[in-house]
Symmetry: C2
Subunit: 173 residues, 2 copies
């Protein structure tokens, strides 16, 4: 990972773009008191540097008829890596699975699943998830209400970043 340095202005741009990815450079310039050229240059630098990964249109799940959201905790058979690899590839290919993390604790994975209704959700679980290779235990919680869901990541820590701590190092050569 290349060290790309960002300043106060870059952080303001990132904050704005996380909320309004389609903001114009002129509008951003007004807000942040920078010329459109600067905004343009800074944005492409952060795109190139891998800080901005992509742009996306965010859809309203309810408006497209995705009324069911659920969380599944999955445990796999204790086998080698091949099992989990197969599982992870299978999960990644399911469009209904919008997030999946391997976790510490009782379960091996937690995943977020969306579906149009309970019938469809049940189908996804029965026909897709439960047939995934090596699955031994499964616990699902249906979401009753979305309290908060955002793609906006916090940036506060970047300004107040602690100086890198000095450590001993081993002479490598």
């Amino acid at each position: 990972m290349q060290q790309i340095v960002v300043d106060k202005f870059d952080l303001q741009i990132l904050d704005a773009l996380q909320r309004r990815g389609n903001a114009t450079n002129s509008a951003l310039g007004e807000e942040i008191h920078l010329s459109p050229s600067q905004i343009s240059r800074r944005i492409s630098r952060m795109e190139q540097g891998g800080i901005i990964a992509s742009y996306a249109a965010l859809l309203d799940p309810a408006a497209i008829g995705l009324d069911v959201s659920a969380f599944a905790q999955v445990t796999l058979e204790r086998h080698g890596e091949s099992r989990s690899d197969a599982f992870e590839r299978a999960v990644a290919a399911l469009p209904e699975v919008v997030a999946c993390f391997s976790v510490s604790g009782d379960a091996d994975y937690v995943m977020h699943i969306v579906a149009p209704d309970l019938v469809a959700f049940s189908n996804v679980m029965m026909k897709r998830i439960m047939r995934l290779p090596g699955l031994t235990h499964l616990k699902t919680n249906i979401a009753l209400k979305t309290v908060k869901q955002t793609s906006v990541l916090p940036l506060d820590h970047i300004m107040h970043a602690p100086q890198p701590r000095r450590r001993m190092q081993f002479a490598s050569a």
Copy 2:
């Protein structure tokens, strides 16, 4: 919720915009075999209709130093609505909490929390989450690996949508 009708082309546009929110109308037009004007009109219709909620720049968490992701299951004291309201408002105000859903099952809420490192994460949990009003039980799982995380919602169900079932209705007046 107003019924806004989408066709095959609209779905193609939505699919593309979910992945590349900054695609130009001309580029989309080439892909979908529609004129830029059509694309433009269809997009504004879907924005107006509330299908497209917003646009966002998606950042790479690792690139901005957010290395810890965790899931918390929270149980609240059995009190009236006021408790959960206060809790939900507090949660919504925490930038580290990127998602929170109330759920069926053992816990009342599941939430997704991000932090720069374990120290910072611990601080968020101790100083912010655990002090939220009315919290009685808390279980956290640290994410070891992100298997999948996407803002792309499935659209397949829209085409194959079942015809609305006829039902009896009560004469309301």
